[in-house]
Symmetry: C2
């Protein structure tokens, strides 16, 4: 983690230079290119005040202005070169720039890593040169950035209206989405601090820009569009630092469908990780995962405009019964709670509401708002004081057109704004439907301080749910740095292959994992002696070198109730092993356990994220329903408890169907210990699986295990 | 059904009069009421050309115009009275109107059925009077309607901009939502034919308006906001007629959360049905259920502008890799298929696309559209001819502002419009994000015939999925009228209470349901004789009058392997029944079955929808996961197969975990026969449950059953 931080500090200062140039050269500017035209127009139209130099070796006049034949000919200092020359000319341009002392580059030119092996070589050459010469390069194959705060917009696609300045920083792994995101943010009146299109991330990565935005005082929320998380370790460190800094990270990460994986691969050449691992990682890192561009911006806007929300209990105030019901449905999906209002709240509301109103949560103050414009605000003020809620959700639209009496409308919103600002609990405003904030709506927000309005019940309640969950997680995440590994496992040198049950079980037992007792027997008499010691019934399992799936060969005999049974089972098992020419033949004798709930606990190594812990209930739960919860290692017992709580089969652990309830603390302790052990085994470990881990009340025992080494 | 149709025809003609008045009286008009002001303003502002008479007994001037003291004083014919007088005056106004020959009424006044028992009486009085005098009354407690096609807008809440004329008919059980729906429809450029706020539905119900809209040539799609389906039989008939007429019904039905049920109850006094029954009913009736106001309008708009879509295979054409990936994720959620393009399609695309483009589905024609504006259209034309797809989805935005060269922009859209219209396969256009259609966007659509643009990938792909599923279902639904009941069951007269297993099983067996053999034994010897006949092992079950849950009292003994076991089990069971003072004591002897998959098949009577069939897998599937599929009766074997296919446990039926695959045709036949039998039993039946229904390959047998009579 220390390493990441140091590199982050370094790039933060070079990124500051990249994103805040006083002068810009457009290299390869030409009337023939839409990108050139767009970049030039964007710089002119959106407020860049420094000099813009056009460079073209073969044309005198470009975009109606005199062009220079090379960077050298400009004869003035250049802070940023925006490079759109043909692919083979990129490196020569960087060489010339480096000689001239130009430190920052955006490379729009494509034809690098995204095209295959040859392109990757070209990209590496550029990267090597840049590193040697301490250049900062954004791209290649990227459209540039929009520094809305400083009105610096070297961006290759059209920007129609000037992006509002604000506190959402946007990082995109797809430059083409920038126009849509800017349009939508503008429609929602969500202000942007900085937007960057990453391109191939040869040098500057998503994580680098995240680190920059964490340190950027203009940025409160970081919004990401991700095709892949290229450097999970760095990403995790940045996400933790963002949580510690109180800056939410909201991410639209594609690749939930297999089809999307294929698309992304073709598009960027990047590996799309297993989607459920991403889910788990984001949850643990406090990164809010959204599923649409609308949610990306609406959620970011809400988080930028709202203090951390204290809890899930929401008091809802609306002027419509129908909308109340839609909100109730939607709130339940989001895990929000709408508690009944306290008796004094109800009494006070009854005083102001018409007789035919029903006082409840969600509150419908009724269509009487048509008669009494202050009704909604007065109800809001009462609900905001209810002791049983954490925050208020107000359903209210900004004006769509210019009203007949604009001053009156402004004064009504002014009153509401004051009430909201003075409210003892945070107030989140959500509109009925997702329509653009109108010009008059903007004016209302500017002139009266009316807060951010989350667009529409569907996305607005979703954003509220995300904000509440984020606040819950952020405290946890920021306090939960990766735990140091305490226990060094007893490990024989250089293990290889697969450890079959008794070997794995003995290893687990030596390292503090409770394992059902077992004795190896290489003849009938030994098996019977062991069975006598354990008491009947017992289980006999086949043992042989490298034998994995015992059940497939009839190698597991349950419910052996007598000496005779044990002898026969031992004979049959060893006979069939001999028939297979197996080595190291014998049986494992265990007492037979009955009842309880079977869990599966596994650790596998994800190519991107490293060791991942999965827990689930055995049998159909994991095999048919794939009902497993995943967590990146390390995990605390609290992590394990939250993972167990996510399972659809959680109800079984709580004691449904006549089972004794599982002692979740005991389970969590054993599972966390498994995680700790797996982490301590480091790179040697390929996978570790306990299946089943039997739980009866507080008794937790591994009945079988399999460890695969790399 | 005949009944519904006749009443529907009648109300269609009276509704035509209600919705198309030539003159309107506002009774109870006053400057003090926002509703009065709004209704008057709406009629003035949105194009009503007939006379509007204001009636107020105590004020001479209202809304700046001379008012009449009563309906009688108007002295001119009145087609519609819009009534907003105090509650006790409503009936006198209707009396006066009836005398004057006024046939149509909107009653805005509240204080009727929604307030409790007394109000219900008042409402009944109004209803009785209206029926006797052949008056048509919309409401009470409703805001009126907006006939956008005819520009007649007697509506009590503000309508800011004139609703565009179009082909979506909207029916609302919450008047307060009308403003939001109109605003959103306007933002999406979706035209409305008629919007009605139903109020208490004393006389005119949602179903009546649906029937009217089915016959209304201006209406192509029916959009509903429902708090409850008040008359399910009529609703089902209307939905079937809509499907037969090729008019999709899209419904936002609230009440998915328990909280919402409570809210709705308080709000309308209506019963909110069990949400999963609603899901099942809508699915069978071809009604598209949506979850947000945005989806209600976006989906309706898409259906109004698109021919029935032929299938799930979509060819996607976009100018953005990032958007392609979001679309791929979203399409998978919707069950849409994006097949690979045929070799000739790929070859033709490669000819026109830049070298660095990857030719696949979804297709990203790349940012090269910045250079070549025709690229997207040319790619669209090629993809539309691909033999492996059913329709094309084009990702394209309408212009947000007025472009620098409006004529050029119009001509580009003109070319696209022609291509889309001439396309051999339907083309659905979806925009990147959900922003309002701008004024210039409207102009583009009007002047170039550019089609409907579904707003944003999130909602647009959802609407596309809904439209595809609708087209699949509509054919089925319209051909599937309720089947006549063929087999009359053998039923003893006047059954009551609960039939315990042997009684229920014998009844099922007599009526063609395969049941595991069983014999009643009232002494040990008879039990042993039966066991000998079946062969061992056998099962013994306790029998006594009215005994339901046998397992709870230890009344089920499995795996009895010998005469001795049977004797002992019989002795123990009868002893414990005697200890309970039970009557009609004995045991039931059955051969013990092993292996196979256990299903639960039940029929229960839903208060609103009548008999509902539920099927699920036994054990944790229904008990813990509540994994059951429901269908309204009657059901065909195809219905049952589709219900089985919906189960999360469907994979178990297909033979996972070493089970023999179930013969789904055999299962469906038995389950459909259960439905037929339950339906034939009519109102006498309270519930019928077979649990388990054991399935091994094509062998399907009821092992236990319970029938409860009303």
């Amino acid at each position: 983690m220390t390493n990441f931080s140091v590199s982050a500090r370094e790039s933060t200062s070079s990124l500051r230079a990249l994103f805040n140039p006083g002068s810009i050269a457009l290299v390869g500017a030409t009337d023939k290119s839409g990108w050139s035209r767009n970049t030039f127009d964007n710089l002119q139209a959106h407020g860049f005040t420094g000099p813009v130099h056009l460079v073209n070796p073969r044309t005198e006049i470009v975009h109606g202005r005199r062009a220079h034949r090379s960077l050298s000919e400009i004869g003035q200092p250049v802070d940023l070169a925006y490079v759109m020359v043909p692919t083979p000319v990129v490196l020569p341009v960087l060489r010339e720039g480096a000689r001239l002392g130009i430190r920052s580059y955006v490379v729009l030119t494509a034809g690098f890593g995204e095209t295959g092996a040859e392109g990757r070589l070209r990209e590496q050459e550029v990267l090597d040169f840049a590193r040697e010469n301490e250049l900062t390069v954004l791209g290649p194959n990227g459209n540039g950035y929009i520094n809305a705060a400083a009105r610096i917009t070297p961006y290759g696609l059209p920007i129609l209206s000037a992006p509002a300045r604000g506190s959402v920083g946007v990082v995109l792994q797809s430059g083409a989405l920038a126009s849509s995101i800017l349009a939508f943010a503008q429609a929602r009146n969500v202000g942007i601090s900085l937007l960057t299109a990453m391109g191939n991330e040869a040098m500057i990565s998503v994580t680098d820009v995240m680190e920059y935005l964490i340190d950027d005082p203009a940025t409160k929320v970081i919004a990401l569009f991700l095709e892949s998380v290229r450097r999970p370790g760095e990403f995790a460190a940045a996400a933790r630092r963002a949580a510690a800094a109180g800056k939410p990270v909201v991410a639209l990460k594609i690749g939930a469908s297999q089809l999307a994986s294929r698309t992304a691969q073709a598009h960027t050449g990047a590996l799309v990780g297993d989607d459920s691992v991403i889910d788990a990682a984001f949850r643990q890192l406090g990164v809010i995962r959204v599923r649409s561009l609308e949610d990306l911006i609406i959620t970011s806007g809400l988080l930028a405009g709202t203090p951390p929300l204290p809890g899930r209990r929401v008091g809802v105030v609306t002027p419509s019964g129908g909308a109340s019901e839609i909100i109730a449905d939607r709130a339940e999906q989001e895990g929000l709670v709408l508690p009944e209002y306290a008796p004094e709240t109800v009494a006070r509301l009854k005083e102001i509401l018409p007789e035919f109103a029903t006082v409840q949560n969600p509150l419908d103050v009724t269509g009487y708002v048509v008669v009494d414009r202050t009704l909604l605000s007065r109800a809001l003020a009462i609900v905001a004081e209810d002791p049983g809620i954490d925050e208020v959700m107000l359903l209210s639209d900004l004006p769509r057109g210019v009203p007949a009496d604009p001053e009156l409308a402004l004064s009504v919103y002014h009153t509401s704004s004051r009430l909201i600002q003075e409210s003892p609990r945070p107030v989140v405003v959500v509109s009925n439907v997702l329509v653009d904030v109108s010009d008059f709506g903007r004016k209302v927000q500017e002139e009266t301080g009316y807060p951010y309005v989350a667009g529409g019940i569907e996305h607005g309640v979703g954003a509220l749910g995300a904000a509440v969950r984020w606040a819950e997680q952020a405290r946890e995440v920021s306090s939960r740095a990766p735990a140091p590994v305490t226990a060094v496992p007893e490990l024989p040198a250089g293990p290889t292959g697969t450890w079959v049950e008794h070997e794995a079980a003995a290893f687990l037992a030596r390292n503090g994992i409770p394992v059902v007792p077992a004795e190896l027997a290489d003849d009938e008499d030994t098996a019977v002696e062991a069975a006598d010691r354990f008491g009947y019934p017992v289980v006999l399992k086949a043992v042989a070198d490298g034998l994995g799936h015992k059940s497939d060969i009839g190698g597991v005999r349950l419910g052996l109730a007598s000496e005779q049974d044990v002898r026969q089972a031992h004979r049959e098992i060893t006979a069939s092993l001999r028939a297979m020419d197996a080595k190291g033949i014998g049986t494992l004798v265990q007492p037979q356990r009955s009842g309880g709930v079977e869990l599966l606990v596994g650790v596998v190594r994800d190519a991107a994220w490293g060791p991942v812990l999965a827990v689930g209930l055995g049998g159909i739960w994991v095999e048919v329903l794939r009902d497993a919860a995943q967590r990146l290692l390390p995990v605390s017992t609290a992590d394990v408890r939250s993972a167990l709580g996510e399972l659809r089969g959680a109800v079984v652990l709580r004691g449904s169907r006549g089972h004794e309830p599982a002692d979740l603390d005991s389970v969590a302790e054993v599972v966390a210990r498994v995680g700790e052990l797996a982490l301590a085994l480091g790179d040697q470990l390929e996978s570790l699986e306990i299946n089943p881990l039997l739980v009866r009340g507080s008794r937790v025992e591994a009945l079988d295990a399999l460890i695969t080494w790399r």
